[in-house]
Each structure stands twice: as C-alpha cells, then as structure tokens.
Symmetry: D2
Subunit: 355 residues, 4 copies
C-alpha cells in the first residue's frame, strides 16, 4: 500500500470471499499450530503421570460401579491416547484446510484471463499455503472437518474433566487438584472448577459444530447465509478447543493422585467384592466357567448378607486352592501398567517426531 501505482492490482480479479477466506486460513494456520502445541504439552504431562503412577492401583468403574482394579497410570494413558490420535488427524487435515483461495467472482477466475491459475499458484507459494484441487468458495468440507476436529478435541479433554469431577467428589477423593475453587460459605469444599469448565466447553463445542456441518450444504457458487453461519461458529470452536487444552494443561500439570483413598475405594465395604471376577477366573481353572461364575455370585450374596469378606468365605470353601493372587489388587491389574508405559513411550516418540 506504500506503492500507489500498485493499489489497483490489489483485489484484482479476486472476490471479497477470496480475501476473507485466505485471511481466515492464514489465521487458522497460526491457530492449529497453537492447538497442536497444546495437545503435545498435555500429552507430555499425561505421559509423565502415566509413567510415574503406572502401577498405582485404583478401582476401575463401569456404569458408575466399582468393577475390577486398574492403575492410575492406565487412567492417565486413557486420557492421553486420544490426544495423540488428534495430532495425527490434524496432520492429515492440514493440507485439506490450509489452502489458498483465489477463484474470482464465481469460482472461475475469469477476470484474470489465462494467467489466473499461475497467479493462484504463485500466491499459494508466497503465502506458504497449499493449492486447492479446485475453487472452494462453495466447498466447505475442509473447514467443516477442522470444526469437527476442534469439537472432538474439546470432547476428549471434556472426558478428562468428567472423570476429574467424579474422582474429586467428597465420597471418592482419589485426586486432588492443584487449584480448586473455594466456596463462599462452605470452607470444606474444593470445587472442581476447571474440570467443570472442560465439561461445559465440550458440550458447547459439540453443539455448535453442526452449524459448520450444515454449512457444507452451501448453495450455488457462493452462499452468503452459509458463509455468515461459519463466521458465527468457527471462531468459537477454535477458542473452545484452545481454552479447553489450556485448562487441561493446568490440570494435568498440578493434579495429585491420592493413593490412600484409592486403596480404600478398592474395597469400600471391606468385603473384597471387587475381586469377584478374579476369583471366578481362578476357579475356572478347576471347574467349568459357568459353574465358577454361579458359585462366586452366590458367595458374593453370602458375603454381603453376613458382612464377611469374600476372601474368607473362599478360603473356607476351597481350603486346598491357592487363591491369594485373586485377592491382591496389584496382581489383578492385567495390562494396566503396560498400557500406561506404552502410552508414555508413544507420547515421547510423537513429541520427538516434532508432533
């Protein structure tokens, strides 16, 4: 713009949408770099947690019920694996999204005459953007793919948020957050504010992403209504993902597992019922599995009715069998420790590969 004689060539043959979409893509390039870096940072912190606590036993819950033992390292790995996959997806979608737009009024670049394609190619090169496989004024599947990715990323950290809301409950208390929310009138409380924020952002991102999916049904060569709907949506999605990853990083960097509470919750009523499955399979070495399961089921009822631990009842019933392992949580965590360590290695490898 310092060269007035060139001013008339600005916007030459381009339509406003070319300018706006190319500018959008240039900003998105910055945004996805930030998102990728944050994904890497959260994954790295989760890798540390997974490794440090790879063998720390805690109760796995299914349908909200204490099921069988797992380890905190495995739980952290479960929060982290999706983040690595999201990084892989991002690498795949980048060339579909980070493309220049220069197609003129109706997508034919006609005002530039025969040299249009060459100009478009040089512009892509100058800006370091990919060349699209055609004019994309009305083809919004790339942008919508990025939007769905943002929503999925936000959902994946919302999952960690939901788990933390549960794990920090008064009755559970297996995790303490580095930064809780104080209550104005109840000093004993530490509200899981950031985990709740993750949950809220996850809901909002999931809800608004379909505006972008719907905007794929862009009418004719350029559709102002669909385009404006994108403007009202995409920035919110990128910000939701960015804020969620930021909050997730604050959490993973400061949360502390509480081994004593974890141990207590592995056997909340002292009956050792969490070992029922392990006992069934230990017995299945000595009798058909259906019979073993039926027997253990009855034994569980007996334990609950009499208030006596399952291991004691089992020892009485089968004095000759060696069943101790079945009642040792640490011996019953299966692949948990290995899964935790495998994630830590994968996260480190992904980080080394430059993401």
């Amino acid at each position: 713009m310092q060269a007035p004689e060139h001013a008339q060539y600005l916007h030459w043959g381009a339509t406003s949408q070319d300018i706006v979409d190319t500018a959008l893509v240039l900003r998105l390039r910055q945004a996805v770099s930030i998102l990728d870096a944050r994904l890497a940072a959260v994954a790295a912190q989760l890798a540390e947690l997974a490794e440090a606590h790879a063998a720390l036993p805690m109760a796995a819950r299914t349908w909200g019920q204490v099921a069988t033992p797992t380890t905190f390292g495995a739980v952290a790995a479960g929060w982290g694996r999706p983040l690595l996959r999201h990084r892989a997806r991002l690498a795949e979608l980048r060339p579909r999204v980070l493309t220049v737009s220069l197609a003129g009024a109706s997508g034919t670049l006609s005002a530039m005459g025969p040299r249009g394609p060459e100009v478009a190619a040089r512009l892509a090169e100058a800006l370091g953007l990919h060349r699209p496989d055609g004019p994309w004024h009305g083809e919004r599947d790339g942008i919508a793919e990025l939007a769905a990715w943002c929503a999925a990323v936000t959902g994946s950290v919302a999952r960690m948020g939901e788990d933390l809301i549960l794990l920090t409950r008064s009755e559970i208390g297996e995790i303490r957050l580095g930064q809780g929310g104080g209550s104005s009138t109840m000093p004993q409380k530490e509200n899981p504010v950031l985990p709740s924020l993750l949950s809220a952002l996850g809901r909002v991102a999931a809800a608004i992403a379909p505006v972008m999916t719907g905007a794929i049904a862009h009418r004719e060569q350029r559709d102002g209504a669909a385009w404006m709907a994108e403007w009202l949506t995409l920035p919110q999605l990128v910000m939701a993902a960015a804020r969620a990853l930021d909050a997730a990083g604050a959490l993973t960097g400061s949360l502390a597992p509480q081994p004593a509470r974890m141990a207590a919750n592995l056997d909340p009523d002292g009956l050792g019922l969490i070992h029922a499955e392990a006992l069934s399979f230990a017995l299945a070495a000595h009798m058909p599995r259906p019979e073993a399961q039926e027997t253990v089921k009855a034994l569980c009822r007996e334990a609950a009715a009499e208030g006596r631990p399952l291991c004691a009842l089992a020892a009485e019933r089968w004095p000759d069998l060696v069943l101790a392992d079945a009642f040792d949580a640490a011996a019953q965590t299966g692949t948990a420790e290995a899964d935790a360590r495998a994630f830590a290695i994968a996260a480190r490898r992904a980080a080394d590969a430059g993401g």
Copy 2:
C-alpha cells in the same frame, strides 16, 4: 456353538462391551465399504456430467444473484470434488475405527492373565481388524470421527440437493430431473423430491452427529449412558449417509441440463449485465481499474434505466475498443472448463486406484 465343550470359552475374559463393539466394527466395515462404493459411483457419474458439459455455459450465482458465467461441467465438478476428498478421509480413518475390542471388564484384560495381549492380537488377525493402540471402551474419538464423516458426506450431497432444488425451480428450469414428484392437484409441477430428501437428510445428520461428539466425554472405564447414546445415533448416521448417496446416485444418473434455459438465464433481462465484470477488466487494460469499475457501474445503471443492453452502450462509448469477448459468455468462463475436465480425470484416477 456346534462344539459344546468350547462354549465356556466364549465371552471368556471379555466384557459384553467387547462383544458388542467388535460386532459393531465388523458391521461398520461392511457399511463403510458400501458407502465408499456409493461415493465412487456418484463421483463417476458426476465425472461423466462434468466432462460432457465441461463447456456448457450457465450463470453462476452468488448470494442468489446472477454473477458471471460458469459452465455446468464446473458445477458438476464442484459437487464431485468433495466426494473424492471424503474417500481420502475414509481411507485415513479406517485403521482408527476398524479395530478389535478385547479388553475385559475394566479395560485391563486381567481375566486372561499374561496371555491377554496375544489373544487380542490373534483375534484381530482372525477377524481382519486392526489392533487398537490401547483399550477403547471409553475412548470413542474413532467412532465419533466416523460419525462426523457420515454427517459431512451427507452434507456434501445435501449441497447438490440444495442446488437442484434451485436449478429445477419454475423460474430457472436449468435442470430436469429424471424422476420428479407429481403433484396431486397441480399437473404442471414436478416436485424435486429426491433433492429435498438430500436436504432433509443433511439437516438430520448434522444435528445428530454431536451426540457422538458429546459421547466422547465417556465417563470412567465404561459409561452406559454415553454408550447407549451412541446406539441411538450411529446407525441413523450411517443410514442417512447411505440413503443420501443412493438418492444422489439416482439423481446424477438421470438429471439433464437444459442448455436453452441456461442461455436465457445468462441474460434474464436482455441487458447483458452479467458481463459487467468482464467489461470492467477489459477496460482496465486501458484505464486504471478503479476508474473502469466506476464507469461500468454507471453504465449498468444507464442500461437498466434506459432498457438498453450494456454491450450497445459500451460500443457507443468506446467505438474503438474491441470488447466483443467481454460479452461472449463462452469466452468468459475462465477456468470452468479446465476445472471440469480436471475433476473428471481425478475421479477416474481415484476409481482406478480402487478408491
């Protein structure tokens, strides 16, 4: 099940979710093959249309306004390019989605003891499924990615549906459908039933996909509520995409462009205003572009006020300039023909590559 002595090993160490999720994946493998084949078929038909009508001029519309000329081949290519991209995305997401699930009650496969991972690997091999990078009972980003893909596919054909609803309007009539919907009382009408179905399916698919995105926030090791929400959603999404592609195929296989109506609509009021941009750029060879644009804007107003064609006014004003090309729609379609042919080649290449 013909071997009773093996019956007890069925479900051994697996949880019901392992069985259900693996069965789901086996069915999804069939489903995505069908979807991929339909994408390929629709793309092939669009490639034929794009090639056959690569140079057939028609009006491009932006914001619902006749803008500048394009060709019907370019329009067909614009419907088809996203389908090729969706096939590329599907190839990428297959290994993330088509994975076996065998992780036991709490994701640790503990009931299988140390041989668990080997059993899981052999099961994957036997079923021809990929091995996941960890237990995925609670990691639903893969399934959600497929759901978002189904919604985006449905959206891309809904785009063609929306365009056909417009192009078959009484006032436009640039496309005739092979199969219209008769009106019960208005014999002159041919309702665009299949294009409307595409639009409806696109809306529904976009709306329900976020249930799957939301279900990424799966609580703890297995979350019945999130899982059931998937059951109520994923089949609908796959069916929406499948039905939409089926309807799209019926349309692309039978629709007929109407060159006479296309020609008429290139100049609906006989004033030739669609050539305004071309005239501006032709004049910009002889004067600064801003001046050219201002002048043409004034000339357009004059044309409308006096009811005289823009080309006549231009000839009067600049008798010495050769401006004929600017008023020839076929000469003003820029890259449209080349884009149409390039798409046809790309579609054929994708088909040859086996999708």
Copy 3:
C-alpha cells in the same frame, strides 16, 4: 454498600448462584422486554405490508415450483402470524422464568433459619420478580424454555430471510430490499445481506439451544459444569434473537414488492399453467373430479408440447363453458386477501393490548 454496618448481611445465607441467577433474571427481564417490543414492531410493519398489498397477486411456490396464485399480503401475514404467537408464548413463560433465586448453599436456605421463606418473598417483592415454586438452582427448565423460545423466534424471522433470499433472486426479483449489499466487482448485483444474516442467525440459534436443553439434566443440587454451559449459551441466544429482530425490522420497514415481476412470474412461460388447478375445479362442476384432473393434466402436456396457452386450449375444448375466472389470478387467490387483512387486525389488536 454506603452503610458498612450492613455489609455483612450482603450474601448472608445466599450462595453465589443465588446472586448470579437473580442478576441474570433481572437482566433477562430487560432483554425480553426489548425482544417483545421488537416482535411487536416487526409485526406492526408486516401488518402494514399485509394490508397495503392484501390483494396484490403473486405466485405461490410449493417445493420451489410455481403452484397457484396467492397475494403478497398473505405472504407478509405468513411471516407475521408466528411473531404474534411468539408474543403470546412469552407472556406465558415470563412467570416461569422471571423468578427470584434465594435458596442458599444447597437449596434449603438453612442458614437463614425459619425466616428464610419470608426473606425470599420480600426479596421477590422488592425486585418485582416472581416467587418460584421451589429452589431452582438445579431446575433449569424455565431458563431452557426461554432459550428454546429465542431459537424459535430467530427461526421465524429466518424464515422471512429465506423467502427474501429467493424473492430477490435475479430470476425472480419480486421484492427489492431497501438496503442491498453491493458487490465489489459486479455492479449489477444487490446481495441480500440482511436476509442472509437472518438465515445464519437462525441456524446458529437452533444449534446452540440444545446446550440449554441438555443443561436441564443438571446434576445434584448445583452442577458447575451444566451451569457454565448455560453461561456460554444463553447470552448468544438472546443476542441472536435480538439482532435477528433488529435486522427483520430494517427489512420489513424498507422492502418493496415489485408488482410487474410478480405478474410476470405468475405465468413465466406464457402458457398459464398456474391455472391448472383452478381449471380442474371449474370443470369438476361439470364432470367427476378425477376425470377433470386427468383431462387437465393432458391439456397441460399439450400446452407445453405445442407452446399454446392453457386458456386457449380450454376455450377450444369447452366452447360453451364460462371458464374465464379460472384464468384470472386475482380471482383465484382464495382466502389470501382475507387472511392478510385478518392478520393486520390481529396485529393491531395485539399491539393495543400492550403486547
């Protein structure tokens, strides 16, 4: 706060959510007054249009096809009736939404002792708010009802937007907007910017409302995650409705129907096929309806094949019947004029009743 000795009583016994929710309701009271006034204003302008053009014939379109004649007044009434209904709904939901919140830490107001309910009642009175039927920290159906209402209001004006996008198309041109959007390079275009904005806002409002519906599933006595999700959503919904009504008012206050284009589009091809239904029913006075419809269907095909108007063919076929009325659009608009006038009266009555 000017009385330090009272400062300790601020927040006494209340929880932060009481303060925030009551403040929200006070702001919503302002917001819904503005929304109601804007609904009334748009309805009043539509009433004027409906009355002024009650008998102005134009083509009705069904499935995008010219169907039979209606009037522009009837169309304007169709945009306006939902707005009157939305005002009625708002009157019903106000007492459910505009309620004070004062229920203390856990919804029991226990810190206030036995005088709690009296304090709550006086606070409601002092603020001019309704008293809820119980603590509503966790009962969000009222707030969600308002959110759904905002989305429905936005949808109703988006409908007008969609119609205006069609009616201002180059090929149709039956409405001119007072304020169009100029194109940077195509001087002949007037982009329907505000109608497109209405469409975009309608999509976004529809998409985000379910966050509020989902937040009805508020967990336990107070759920930070659900509550934060509301914060991220409700303001956007109120603003979407407010902006949409503002834009709608700008449109209804300045749009101008184009009778000449309307007349031309009633018979786009000069064959008079729009009168097919009227002819069928005129003939049904002289023959069974099925026979009449079959005959007219055949005649329509003949008209199209021979390029001769339907009225001429009918006159030849039934020289003795008086069928002129069937071919007079103004005589074939049925209840359109009456519907337009009835709406104008209803809108005026609603305005007089103070909304």
Copy 4:
C-alpha cells in the same frame, strides 16, 4: 369410502400436506395424552416419595462436593416440580399445535371457492381439533414448540437419571433401584441401566430438537425439504419422551432410599465438616459474619490436619455457646421438609384438576 359417489370429494381442494398434517395432529393428540398421563403418574410417585421421606436427611452436593444437609424428600420434589411445570406448558401449547390443516395447494383454499373457510371450520369441529389462525403449511412454530417441549421433558427425567447414576454408585449407595442390570462377569455390580437410558434419551432428544427449530425456516408456501426433515425428527422426539417417562415411572415406582448410607455420607470422614456453614451462621449471632467465616475456615483446616471432629474443636473454643443444633443434620435441613411436602400437595392438586 363405502360410498363411491362421495369418493371424488375426498381430497377435494386439499393438498396432500393438509391430509398428512391433519393426520399427524390427530396422532399427536393421542401421543400428548399419553405423555401427559405419564407425567402425571411419575409426578404422583415422586409425590409419594417426597412425602414419605420429607424429613430423611441426606447430603446435598454442589459441584460434586458434599455441601450441607438436605432431605431425600426435597430431592424427590426437585425431580418432580419440573414435571408439573411441563404439564402446565402442555396445556398452553395444545391449542397452538392441535389445529386442523385445510388450506389447499398454496394455503389459500382457492379450489373451494367462498365456502372454503366454512368447510375448514366444520372439519375442525368434526375432528375435535382447534382452528388455526391462518394456513400453517409453512408456519411450523407450533410443531417445533411441541418438539422442544418433548426434548425438555426428556431432559427433566434425564436429570433424575443423572442423579440416580450418582446416588447408586458403589461409593455412595444412597439409592437402590428396584431393577438393576446384572454384570456378565462381576456379580457384585448392579448397573443403573434405566438411569443410563434416561441420560442417553435426554442427549438424543436435545440434539434432534433443533432440526425442528431449523425447520421453522420453511421456505415459501410449502417446502418439501423442511417438511421431510420434520418427518425424520418429530416421531423420534415423541418416542424419546414417551420411553423416558415410562422408564422414569419404573424407577420412581421401585427405588428405595438407603438411610444408613445417607447418614454415613453426611459425614464421610467423621470430621463433621458438612456443618461448617451452620457453625458459621451460629457464630455470626455472636460476632461479625466475616470473622465467623474466617474462624470456621481455620477450624476446618485444623480438624482435617488433626483428624478431630469440627464439633469437638468448636466446643473447646467456645465452651459457653450452645452450638449443638449446628451439628445436627436434621436441624439443618432448612426448608427441605416443607418443600417436599409442598410439592406433594401441588402434585396431588394437579392430579385432582385432571392434569
């Protein structure tokens, strides 16, 4: 149809949409009666629970943290009050939704000539339906209002589902369900299957309702795409609400609160920290509230650090004050019992009023 001479009058002047929409409304009339009856039945069962357990103390949780005492009766009332409000809303929306449609091809009923309105009025009377304030082929705010209501109803019972998922957790166990879901391999578990179903239905209903909101933006006189989108959505919403209420009824009819677990959870660590707020307000009678709150906050930290109950520390510190009430959960439930009983009365009154 037994009178062939009348057959030709079937469909006379009506369009197919008149038939389909009127039929839809007749079915919806049945459906909303069923929904209303189920709402009444669930509310009646909740009223019984609220009354029977009006004074049964349990911990209220906010942000997932044990906050202060409430009663199970108050919790049941909190599940029930929204249902009464939904019944009130239904009564309001019935006349807006249950309206006949008879408006002919383009909403003008022109084929019926001047007697059209009379025919429409008689048809409404004969079918026992309301008369609309105008043709509603394209005005879908009524149908969308019903859809949003279904989603909100489903959301309100999903809230009970979410609470039951938490209250039946192994670590909490304050509610037992009459019908649990057995685990295939873990006999100690009782999965909250129906509560999870409520949660799943709530998510799905919230997600698909916006299709109906979006379909309010119905284009022109009749829009096949928007109409088909309704077909794919409304039945699902009605079924979701109906199934959710059915499941809710099964739950409320059989669930059993567990007073012993409730008592235990009021003080999970034996420190009595749940009484912190009550102590603050008891002290606030003797010192400024800020000082009271600061002091109690410090005392809570002391209690946690030393593992001594808050009441013992308070008795030591203020030997002369009578603070016993502050440490009695039953005395600290504020309005909970009264709220529970008030809901029971309101539910009974609503039932007597015929709903």
